[in-house]
Protein backbone atom coordinates (compact mmCIF):
# COMPACT_ATOMS: atom_id res chain seq x y z
CA UNK A 1 0.00 0.00 0.00
CA UNK A 2 2.77 2.44 0.92
CA UNK A 3 4.07 2.36 -2.64
CA UNK A 4 1.06 4.52 -3.59
CA UNK A 5 2.50 7.19 -1.35
CA UNK A 6 6.14 6.78 -2.40
CA UNK A 7 5.83 6.00 -6.13
CA UNK A 8 5.14 9.57 -7.25
CA UNK A 9 8.38 10.73 -5.61
CA UNK A 10 10.49 9.06 -8.27
CA UNK A 11 9.69 12.07 -10.46
CA UNK A 12 11.50 15.34 -9.90
CA UNK A 13 8.44 17.41 -10.84
CA UNK A 14 6.44 15.68 -8.07
CA UNK A 15 9.20 16.33 -5.53
CA UNK A 16 9.20 20.01 -6.51
CA UNK A 17 5.39 20.12 -6.42
CA UNK A 18 5.23 18.60 -2.92
CA UNK A 19 7.89 20.92 -1.48
CA UNK A 20 6.24 23.92 -3.15
CA UNK A 21 2.71 22.96 -2.08
CA UNK A 22 3.74 22.32 1.53
CA UNK A 23 5.59 25.65 1.80
CA UNK A 24 2.74 27.56 0.17
CA UNK A 25 0.24 25.78 2.42
CA UNK A 26 2.16 26.65 5.60
CA UNK A 27 2.66 30.25 4.49
CA UNK A 28 -1.00 30.74 3.53
CA UNK A 29 -2.23 29.16 6.77
CA UNK A 30 0.13 31.09 9.07
CA UNK A 31 -0.56 34.48 7.49
CA UNK A 32 -4.18 33.55 6.85
CA UNK A 33 -4.69 33.26 10.62
CA UNK A 34 -4.16 37.00 11.03
CA UNK A 35 -6.03 37.76 7.81
CA UNK A 36 -9.10 35.87 9.05
CA UNK A 37 -8.93 37.21 12.61
CA UNK A 38 -8.54 40.80 11.40
CA UNK A 39 -11.58 40.30 9.08
CA UNK A 40 -9.34 40.90 6.04
CA UNK A 41 -10.41 37.78 4.12
CA UNK A 42 -12.18 40.00 1.62
CA UNK A 43 -8.91 41.91 1.02
CA UNK A 44 -7.17 38.60 0.30
CA UNK A 45 -9.93 37.80 -2.16
CA UNK A 46 -9.46 41.19 -3.80
CA UNK A 47 -5.68 40.79 -4.12
CA UNK A 48 -5.92 37.34 -5.68
CA UNK A 49 -8.16 38.72 -8.41
CA UNK A 50 -5.96 41.76 -8.89
CA UNK A 51 -2.94 39.65 -9.77
CA UNK A 52 -4.39 38.56 -13.12
CA UNK A 53 -3.49 41.58 -15.29
CA UNK A 54 0.07 41.53 -13.89
CA UNK A 55 0.38 37.85 -14.79
CA UNK A 56 -0.95 38.38 -18.30
CA UNK A 57 1.22 41.44 -19.02
CA UNK A 58 4.31 39.56 -17.77
CA UNK A 59 3.32 36.56 -19.95
CA UNK A 60 2.78 38.72 -23.04
CA UNK A 61 6.11 40.51 -22.52
CA UNK A 62 7.96 37.27 -21.78
CA UNK A 63 8.86 38.47 -18.26
CA UNK A 64 8.63 36.83 -14.83
CA UNK A 65 5.04 35.86 -13.91
CA UNK A 66 5.92 36.18 -10.22
CA UNK A 67 7.13 39.74 -10.73
CA UNK A 68 4.06 40.65 -12.78
CA UNK A 69 1.64 39.26 -10.19
CA UNK A 70 3.59 40.82 -7.31
CA UNK A 71 3.58 44.29 -8.85
CA UNK A 72 -0.17 44.08 -9.59
CA UNK A 73 -1.09 42.90 -6.06
CA UNK A 74 1.20 45.33 -4.25
CA UNK A 75 -0.10 48.24 -6.34
CA UNK A 76 -3.69 47.16 -5.58
CA UNK A 77 -3.06 46.64 -1.84
CA UNK A 78 -1.34 49.98 -1.36
CA UNK A 79 -3.77 51.69 -3.73
CA UNK A 80 -6.72 50.53 -1.63
CA UNK A 81 -4.89 51.54 1.57
CA UNK A 82 -4.05 54.99 0.13
CA UNK A 83 -7.48 55.78 -1.36
CA UNK A 84 -9.27 54.58 1.81
CA UNK A 85 -7.56 57.40 3.75
CA UNK A 86 -10.20 59.71 2.27
CA UNK A 87 -13.13 59.39 4.66
CA UNK A 88 -15.60 59.87 1.79
CA UNK A 89 -14.34 56.73 0.05
CA UNK A 90 -15.30 53.56 1.94
CA UNK A 91 -12.66 50.82 2.06
CA UNK A 92 -15.16 48.03 1.38
CA UNK A 93 -16.35 49.87 -1.74
CA UNK A 94 -12.77 50.03 -3.00
CA UNK A 95 -12.21 46.36 -2.15
CA UNK A 96 -15.34 45.48 -4.11
CA UNK A 97 -14.50 47.75 -7.02
CA UNK A 98 -10.77 47.79 -7.85
CA UNK A 99 -10.17 44.00 -8.03
CA UNK A 100 -13.12 43.56 -10.40
CA UNK A 101 -11.70 46.24 -12.66
CA UNK A 102 -8.26 44.58 -12.51
CA UNK A 103 -9.77 41.13 -13.16
CA UNK A 104 -11.78 42.43 -16.12
CA UNK A 105 -8.60 44.07 -17.46
CA UNK A 106 -6.76 40.75 -17.09
CA UNK A 107 -9.49 38.83 -18.95
CA UNK A 108 -9.45 41.49 -21.68
CA UNK A 109 -5.70 41.01 -22.08
CA UNK A 110 -6.07 37.20 -22.09
CA UNK A 111 -8.63 37.47 -24.89
CA UNK A 112 -5.82 38.89 -27.05
CA UNK A 113 -3.65 35.78 -26.52
CA UNK A 114 -6.23 33.42 -28.06
CA UNK A 115 -5.06 30.61 -25.78
CA UNK A 116 -7.42 29.15 -23.17
CA UNK A 117 -4.65 26.92 -21.79
CA UNK A 118 -2.87 30.05 -20.49
CA UNK A 119 -6.12 31.33 -19.03
CA UNK A 120 -6.74 28.00 -17.26
CA UNK A 121 -3.29 27.81 -15.65
CA UNK A 122 -3.43 31.45 -14.46
CA UNK A 123 -6.90 31.15 -13.03
CA UNK A 124 -6.56 27.74 -11.41
CA UNK A 125 -2.79 27.20 -10.92
CA UNK A 126 -0.51 24.28 -11.74
CA UNK A 127 1.64 23.14 -8.85
CA UNK A 128 2.92 20.20 -10.91
CA UNK A 129 4.53 22.69 -13.30
CA UNK A 130 6.74 24.34 -10.63
CA UNK A 131 10.30 24.82 -11.91
CA UNK A 132 13.52 24.96 -9.87
CA UNK A 133 13.49 28.76 -10.24
CA UNK A 134 9.88 28.97 -9.01
CA UNK A 135 10.76 26.76 -6.06
CA UNK A 136 13.70 28.96 -5.06
CA UNK A 137 11.39 32.00 -5.09
CA UNK A 138 8.74 30.16 -3.03
CA UNK A 139 11.40 29.16 -0.45
CA UNK A 140 12.68 32.74 -0.28
CA UNK A 141 9.24 34.33 0.12
CA UNK A 142 8.13 31.70 2.66
CA UNK A 143 11.33 32.15 4.70
CA UNK A 144 11.08 35.96 4.77
CA UNK A 145 7.32 36.03 5.49
CA UNK A 146 7.38 33.35 8.21
CA UNK A 147 10.40 34.99 9.88
CA UNK A 148 8.54 38.33 9.92
CA UNK A 149 5.44 36.66 11.39
CA UNK A 150 7.57 35.04 14.10
CA UNK A 151 9.43 38.28 14.95
CA UNK A 152 6.32 40.49 15.06
CA UNK A 153 3.88 37.88 16.43
CA UNK A 154 3.37 39.73 19.73
CA UNK A 155 2.73 43.10 18.07
CA UNK A 156 0.43 41.58 15.40
CA UNK A 157 -1.60 39.99 18.18
CA UNK A 158 -2.04 43.27 20.07
CA UNK A 159 -2.61 45.26 16.86
CA UNK A 160 -5.40 42.84 15.92
CA UNK A 161 -7.17 42.87 19.32
CA UNK A 162 -6.80 46.52 20.28
CA UNK A 163 -5.15 48.77 17.64
CA UNK A 164 -5.69 51.93 19.72
CA UNK A 165 -3.81 50.51 22.70
CA UNK A 166 -1.04 49.34 20.34
CA UNK A 167 -0.76 52.90 19.03
CA UNK A 168 -0.68 54.47 22.49
CA UNK A 169 2.33 52.37 23.52
CA UNK A 170 4.23 53.43 20.38
CA UNK A 171 3.63 50.55 17.95
CA UNK A 172 3.46 52.06 14.43
CA UNK A 173 0.07 50.60 13.50
CA UNK A 174 -0.03 52.07 9.98
CA UNK A 175 3.35 50.51 9.20
CA UNK A 176 2.08 47.19 10.63
CA UNK A 177 -1.05 47.44 8.47
CA UNK A 178 0.91 48.10 5.27
CA UNK A 179 3.42 45.42 6.25
CA UNK A 180 0.61 42.89 6.61
CA UNK A 181 -0.73 43.92 3.19
CA UNK A 182 2.75 43.54 1.67
CA UNK A 183 3.18 40.02 3.07
CA UNK A 184 -0.37 39.20 1.99
CA UNK A 185 0.57 40.29 -1.54
CA UNK A 186 3.69 38.10 -1.48
CA UNK A 187 1.68 35.14 -0.16
CA UNK A 188 -1.01 35.62 -2.80
CA UNK A 189 1.65 35.63 -5.51
CA UNK A 190 3.14 32.30 -4.41
CA UNK A 191 -0.35 30.91 -3.75
CA UNK A 192 -1.28 31.61 -7.36
CA UNK A 193 1.40 29.14 -8.46
CA UNK A 194 -0.36 26.39 -6.51
CA UNK A 195 -4.05 27.10 -6.88
CA UNK A 196 -4.36 30.05 -9.27
CA UNK A 197 -5.86 33.50 -8.84
CA UNK A 198 -9.41 32.31 -8.26
CA UNK A 199 -8.70 29.76 -5.53
CA UNK A 200 -5.77 31.27 -3.58
CA UNK A 201 -8.08 32.99 -1.14
CA UNK A 202 -9.53 29.58 -0.24
CA UNK A 203 -6.04 28.43 0.81
CA UNK A 204 -5.69 31.55 2.97
CA UNK A 205 -9.07 31.21 4.63
CA UNK A 206 -10.41 27.63 4.71
CA UNK A 207 -7.67 25.90 6.81
CA UNK A 208 -7.90 28.76 9.34
CA UNK A 209 -11.70 28.55 9.44
CA UNK A 210 -11.43 24.80 10.15
CA UNK A 211 -8.85 25.35 12.91
CA UNK A 212 -11.00 28.13 14.43
CA UNK A 213 -13.74 25.55 14.96
CA UNK A 214 -11.44 23.34 17.00
CA UNK A 215 -9.47 25.71 19.24
CA UNK A 216 -9.72 29.11 20.92
CA UNK A 217 -5.99 29.74 21.31
CA UNK A 218 -4.01 31.64 18.69
CA UNK A 219 -0.85 29.48 18.75
CA UNK A 220 -2.79 26.22 18.45
CA UNK A 221 -4.97 27.74 15.76
CA UNK A 222 -1.94 28.66 13.64
CA UNK A 223 -0.38 25.23 14.13
CA UNK A 224 -3.61 23.40 13.26
CA UNK A 225 -4.16 25.62 10.20
CA UNK A 226 -0.67 24.76 8.96
CA UNK A 227 -1.28 21.02 9.48
CA UNK A 228 -4.60 21.26 7.57
CA UNK A 229 -3.01 23.25 4.75
CA UNK A 230 -0.12 20.76 4.42
CA UNK A 231 -2.53 17.78 4.39
CA UNK A 232 -4.65 19.53 1.75
CA UNK A 233 -1.60 20.38 -0.35
CA UNK A 234 -0.32 16.78 -0.23
CA UNK A 235 -3.82 15.40 -0.91
CA UNK A 236 -4.20 17.73 -3.88
CA UNK A 237 -0.84 16.76 -5.39
CA UNK A 238 -1.58 13.00 -5.02
CA UNK A 239 -5.09 13.40 -6.45
CA UNK A 240 -3.68 15.33 -9.36
CA UNK A 241 -1.02 12.64 -9.97
CA UNK A 242 -3.30 9.60 -9.73
CA UNK A 243 -6.58 10.94 -11.13
CA UNK A 244 -5.36 13.70 -13.45
CA UNK A 245 -7.51 16.30 -11.69
CA UNK A 246 -6.62 20.00 -11.66
CA UNK A 247 -4.07 20.41 -8.84
CA UNK A 248 -5.36 23.76 -7.56
CA UNK A 249 -8.98 22.68 -7.39
CA UNK A 250 -7.95 19.36 -5.73
CA UNK A 251 -6.04 21.23 -2.99
CA UNK A 252 -9.03 23.47 -2.28
CA UNK A 253 -11.44 20.49 -2.25
CA UNK A 254 -9.22 18.76 0.34
CA UNK A 255 -9.25 22.00 2.42
CA UNK A 256 -13.04 22.04 2.22
CA UNK A 257 -13.28 18.38 3.26
CA UNK A 258 -11.16 19.10 6.32
CA UNK A 259 -13.42 22.06 7.15
CA UNK A 260 -16.50 19.80 6.81
CA UNK A 261 -14.94 17.17 9.11
CA UNK A 262 -14.03 19.87 11.68
CA UNK A 263 -17.56 21.27 11.53
CA UNK A 264 -19.14 17.81 12.05
CA UNK A 265 -16.71 17.10 14.92
CA UNK A 266 -17.62 20.42 16.57
CA UNK A 267 -21.32 19.77 16.05
CA UNK A 268 -21.15 16.29 17.64
CA UNK A 269 -19.00 17.67 20.46
CA UNK A 270 -21.68 20.32 21.10
CA UNK A 271 -24.47 17.72 21.13
CA UNK A 272 -22.46 15.50 23.47
CA UNK A 273 -21.74 18.43 25.79
CA UNK A 274 -25.44 19.37 25.96
CA UNK A 275 -26.40 15.76 26.64
CA UNK A 276 -23.90 15.46 29.51
CA UNK A 277 -25.09 18.69 31.09
Amino acid sequence: MTHYLTDPFQYMFIQRAVIGAVLIGVLCAALGTFIVLRRMAVVGHALTHSALPGLVIAYLMGGSLFAGALIATVVTAFGIGFLARDENVYEDTLVGMIPNIMFAFGILLISTTRSFRDLFSMLFGNILGVTDGDLRLIVLIAAVSLTALFLFYKELKLFSIDPNYAKTIGIPVQVMRYGLLLFLSLTVVVGIQAVGTVLTNALLVVPVAAARLLTDRLGRMMALSCVFAVLSALGGVYASYYFGTASGASIVIFCSLIFAIAWVFKFIQGLWGRRKS
Partner: protein, 250 residues
Protein backbone atom coordinates in the same frame (compact mmCIF):
# COMPACT_ATOMS: atom_id res chain seq x y z
CA UNK B 1 19.48 44.43 24.41
CA UNK B 2 16.16 46.28 24.13
CA UNK B 3 14.42 47.67 21.05
CA UNK B 4 11.77 50.09 22.38
CA UNK B 5 8.73 50.96 20.30
CA UNK B 6 9.00 54.18 18.32
CA UNK B 7 8.83 57.47 20.23
CA UNK B 8 9.09 55.50 23.47
CA UNK B 9 11.21 57.18 26.10
CA UNK B 10 11.39 56.41 29.80
CA UNK B 11 11.29 59.94 31.17
CA UNK B 12 11.27 60.45 34.91
CA UNK B 13 8.32 62.53 36.13
CA UNK B 14 9.07 66.10 37.02
CA UNK B 15 8.50 66.15 40.83
CA UNK B 16 6.73 69.52 40.90
CA UNK B 17 4.64 69.06 37.76
CA UNK B 18 0.95 68.16 37.78
CA UNK B 19 -0.08 64.74 36.50
CA UNK B 20 -1.83 66.37 33.56
CA UNK B 21 -1.69 69.92 32.29
CA UNK B 22 -3.64 71.05 29.24
CA UNK B 23 -3.50 74.57 27.80
CA UNK B 24 -5.69 75.93 24.98
CA UNK B 25 -6.39 72.50 23.57
CA UNK B 26 -8.19 72.18 20.24
CA UNK B 27 -8.82 68.78 18.62
CA UNK B 28 -10.68 67.83 15.46
CA UNK B 29 -10.99 64.61 13.47
CA UNK B 30 -9.82 66.28 10.25
CA UNK B 31 -7.45 69.20 9.74
CA UNK B 32 -10.19 71.59 8.61
CA UNK B 33 -13.23 70.01 10.25
CA UNK B 34 -15.29 71.14 13.22
CA UNK B 35 -13.55 71.16 16.57
CA UNK B 36 -14.45 68.15 18.75
CA UNK B 37 -12.64 69.81 21.69
CA UNK B 38 -12.07 73.56 21.85
CA UNK B 39 -10.36 76.01 24.24
CA UNK B 40 -9.77 73.37 26.88
CA UNK B 41 -7.55 74.17 29.88
CA UNK B 42 -6.98 72.07 32.95
CA UNK B 43 -4.37 71.13 35.53
CA UNK B 44 -4.82 67.93 37.52
CA UNK B 45 -2.45 67.25 40.42
CA UNK B 46 -0.86 63.90 41.12
CA UNK B 47 -2.82 61.33 43.11
CA UNK B 48 -6.44 62.35 42.56
CA UNK B 49 -9.43 60.58 41.05
CA UNK B 50 -11.40 62.85 38.74
CA UNK B 51 -14.66 62.36 36.92
CA UNK B 52 -14.98 63.66 33.35
CA UNK B 53 -18.69 64.29 33.15
CA UNK B 54 -20.80 64.88 30.07
CA UNK B 55 -23.50 63.42 27.87
CA UNK B 56 -22.85 61.19 24.84
CA UNK B 57 -20.97 63.14 22.17
CA UNK B 58 -19.64 65.71 24.66
CA UNK B 59 -16.05 64.91 23.66
CA UNK B 60 -14.96 62.74 26.61
CA UNK B 61 -13.44 59.94 24.50
CA UNK B 62 -11.94 62.51 22.12
CA UNK B 63 -10.20 64.24 25.01
CA UNK B 64 -8.78 60.92 26.28
CA UNK B 65 -7.61 60.00 22.78
CA UNK B 66 -5.87 63.35 22.44
CA UNK B 67 -4.18 62.94 25.85
CA UNK B 68 -2.75 59.54 24.96
CA UNK B 69 -1.65 60.57 21.47
CA UNK B 70 -4.28 58.81 19.35
CA UNK B 71 -5.50 62.10 17.85
CA UNK B 72 -3.31 64.97 16.64
CA UNK B 73 -3.64 68.30 18.42
CA UNK B 74 -4.87 71.16 16.25
CA UNK B 75 -3.76 73.72 18.82
CA UNK B 76 -2.67 73.92 22.44
CA UNK B 77 -0.34 71.79 24.54
CA UNK B 78 -0.63 68.71 26.74
CA UNK B 79 2.01 67.79 29.29
CA UNK B 80 2.05 64.67 31.41
CA UNK B 81 4.13 64.74 34.60
CA UNK B 82 5.93 67.74 33.12
CA UNK B 83 6.79 66.08 29.80
CA UNK B 84 5.39 66.56 26.34
CA UNK B 85 3.04 64.03 24.76
CA UNK B 86 4.76 60.85 23.60
CA UNK B 87 7.65 61.21 26.04
CA UNK B 88 6.14 58.83 28.55
CA UNK B 89 3.99 56.15 26.89
CA UNK B 90 4.45 53.78 29.81
CA UNK B 91 3.11 56.35 32.32
CA UNK B 92 -0.28 56.80 30.64
CA UNK B 93 -2.85 54.13 29.97
CA UNK B 94 -6.13 54.61 28.14
CA UNK B 95 -8.94 52.13 28.73
CA UNK B 96 -11.24 52.33 25.75
CA UNK B 97 -14.92 51.52 25.81
CA UNK B 98 -15.37 47.75 25.67
CA UNK B 99 -16.81 47.89 22.16
CA UNK B 100 -13.43 48.99 20.77
CA UNK B 101 -11.79 45.63 21.61
CA UNK B 102 -12.07 42.48 19.47
CA UNK B 103 -13.30 40.15 22.22
CA UNK B 104 -13.60 37.25 19.75
CA UNK B 105 -9.82 37.10 19.28
CA UNK B 106 -8.50 33.68 20.40
CA UNK B 107 -6.40 34.54 23.46
CA UNK B 108 -6.75 33.78 27.16
CA UNK B 109 -7.44 36.39 29.81
CA UNK B 110 -3.87 36.02 31.17
CA UNK B 111 -2.38 36.60 27.69
CA UNK B 112 -4.59 39.65 27.27
CA UNK B 113 -3.49 41.16 30.59
CA UNK B 114 0.17 40.42 29.79
CA UNK B 115 -0.20 42.83 26.85
CA UNK B 116 -0.01 45.57 29.48
CA UNK B 117 3.68 44.66 29.79
CA UNK B 118 4.51 45.04 26.07
CA UNK B 119 5.40 48.72 26.45
CA UNK B 120 8.35 47.65 28.66
CA UNK B 121 9.35 44.73 26.40
CA UNK B 122 9.54 46.52 23.03
CA UNK B 123 10.24 44.71 19.76
CA UNK B 124 11.30 41.03 19.69
CA UNK B 125 11.27 40.40 23.48
CA UNK B 126 8.76 37.96 24.96
CA UNK B 127 6.98 38.29 28.29
CA UNK B 128 9.00 36.62 31.06
CA UNK B 129 8.26 35.19 34.50
CA UNK B 130 8.19 38.67 36.09
CA UNK B 131 5.70 39.94 33.50
CA UNK B 132 3.47 36.91 34.02
CA UNK B 133 3.63 37.41 37.80
CA UNK B 134 2.61 41.08 37.40
CA UNK B 135 -0.27 40.12 35.13
CA UNK B 136 -1.47 37.52 37.65
CA UNK B 137 -1.18 40.06 40.46
CA UNK B 138 -3.30 42.53 38.46
CA UNK B 139 -5.95 39.84 37.92
CA UNK B 140 -5.92 39.16 41.65
CA UNK B 141 -6.41 42.85 42.42
CA UNK B 142 -9.48 42.84 40.18
CA UNK B 143 -10.80 39.62 41.81
CA UNK B 144 -10.69 37.70 38.53
CA UNK B 145 -7.77 35.31 39.13
CA UNK B 146 -10.05 32.37 38.43
CA UNK B 147 -10.60 33.64 34.86
CA UNK B 148 -6.89 33.57 33.90
CA UNK B 149 -7.19 30.64 31.49
CA UNK B 150 -10.59 31.56 30.09
CA UNK B 151 -10.91 32.68 26.47
CA UNK B 152 -11.74 36.40 26.35
CA UNK B 153 -14.89 35.85 24.27
CA UNK B 154 -16.39 33.93 27.23
CA UNK B 155 -16.39 36.91 29.59
CA UNK B 156 -19.44 38.85 30.69
CA UNK B 157 -19.52 42.64 30.25
CA UNK B 158 -18.48 43.21 33.87
CA UNK B 159 -15.68 40.65 33.62
CA UNK B 160 -14.43 42.29 30.41
CA UNK B 161 -14.24 45.62 32.22
CA UNK B 162 -12.31 44.12 35.12
CA UNK B 163 -9.88 42.40 32.74
CA UNK B 164 -9.33 45.70 30.88
CA UNK B 165 -8.51 47.44 34.17
CA UNK B 166 -6.22 44.53 35.10
CA UNK B 167 -4.28 45.15 31.85
CA UNK B 168 -3.91 48.81 32.86
CA UNK B 169 -2.69 47.75 36.33
CA UNK B 170 -0.19 45.36 34.72
CA UNK B 171 1.22 48.33 32.82
CA UNK B 172 1.78 50.02 36.17
CA UNK B 173 0.94 53.41 34.65
CA UNK B 174 0.78 56.57 36.75
CA UNK B 175 -2.06 58.26 34.86
CA UNK B 176 -5.11 56.13 34.05
CA UNK B 177 -7.80 57.33 31.62
CA UNK B 178 -10.90 55.15 32.01
CA UNK B 179 -13.60 55.56 29.37
CA UNK B 180 -16.98 54.76 30.96
CA UNK B 181 -15.81 51.73 32.97
CA UNK B 182 -19.03 51.63 34.99
CA UNK B 183 -21.35 51.73 32.02
CA UNK B 184 -23.63 48.65 31.77
CA UNK B 185 -21.77 46.54 34.34
CA UNK B 186 -23.12 44.41 37.18
CA UNK B 187 -23.18 45.49 40.85
CA UNK B 188 -20.16 43.31 41.74
CA UNK B 189 -18.04 44.91 39.03
CA UNK B 190 -19.23 48.36 40.08
CA UNK B 191 -18.12 47.65 43.65
CA UNK B 192 -14.79 46.11 42.57
CA UNK B 193 -13.97 48.99 40.23
CA UNK B 194 -14.81 51.46 43.03
CA UNK B 195 -12.49 49.64 45.44
CA UNK B 196 -9.73 49.48 42.86
CA UNK B 197 -10.03 53.21 42.14
CA UNK B 198 -9.43 53.86 45.84
CA UNK B 199 -6.44 51.46 45.85
CA UNK B 200 -4.94 53.10 42.76
CA UNK B 201 -5.33 56.52 44.34
CA UNK B 202 -3.76 55.28 47.57
CA UNK B 203 -0.68 54.31 45.55
CA UNK B 204 -0.31 57.93 44.44
CA UNK B 205 -1.59 57.37 40.92
CA UNK B 206 -3.93 59.72 39.09
CA UNK B 207 -7.20 58.52 37.58
CA UNK B 208 -9.64 60.28 35.25
CA UNK B 209 -12.92 58.46 34.64
CA UNK B 210 -15.31 59.45 31.84
CA UNK B 211 -18.88 59.01 32.99
CA UNK B 212 -22.36 60.33 32.55
CA UNK B 213 -23.61 58.95 35.86
CA UNK B 214 -21.65 61.25 38.15
CA UNK B 215 -24.56 61.69 40.57
CA UNK B 216 -24.57 57.96 41.35
CA UNK B 217 -20.78 57.64 41.56
CA UNK B 218 -19.88 60.93 43.22
CA UNK B 219 -18.33 59.26 46.27
CA UNK B 220 -15.61 57.71 44.13
CA UNK B 221 -14.06 60.98 42.97
CA UNK B 222 -12.23 63.97 44.33
CA UNK B 223 -13.85 66.26 41.80
CA UNK B 224 -15.32 66.60 38.37
CA UNK B 225 -14.69 68.25 35.02
CA UNK B 226 -17.85 69.06 33.07
CA UNK B 227 -17.80 68.87 29.31
CA UNK B 228 -20.49 69.67 26.73
CA UNK B 229 -20.16 69.89 22.94
CA UNK B 230 -16.38 69.75 23.23
CA UNK B 231 -16.20 72.70 25.63
CA UNK B 232 -15.43 72.77 29.31
CA UNK B 233 -18.56 74.16 30.94
CA UNK B 234 -17.42 74.09 34.56
CA UNK B 235 -14.08 74.25 36.35
CA UNK B 236 -12.79 71.63 38.69
CA UNK B 237 -15.12 71.00 41.52
CA UNK B 238 -12.93 69.59 44.24
CA UNK B 239 -14.23 68.52 47.59
CA UNK B 240 -12.78 70.09 50.70
CA UNK B 241 -9.52 68.24 50.73
CA UNK B 242 -6.48 70.26 51.89
CA UNK B 243 -4.14 68.27 49.63
CA UNK B 244 -5.87 69.73 46.60
CA UNK B 245 -5.60 73.36 47.56
CA UNK B 246 -2.80 74.07 45.11
CA UNK B 247 -4.86 73.30 42.03
CA UNK B 248 -6.91 75.77 40.05
CA UNK B 249 -10.16 74.67 41.69
CA UNK B 250 -13.40 76.53 41.48
Amino acid sequence: MKFPYCQHRHSRPNPNAPALEIKGLGVSYSSEGKYAIKDFDISIPVGVAMALVGPNGAGKSTLFKAICGLLPLRCGTISIFGHSLGASHHRVVYLPQRSEIDWQFPVSVLDFVKMGRYVYLGWFALAGIKDTAMARHALKEMNVSDLADRQISRLSGGQQQRVLIARALAQNADLLLLDEPLNAVDATTRQTVGEVLQKIKAKGKTVIVATHYYDQEEGLYDGAIYLKDGKQIADLNYKDDPSHKDCDCA
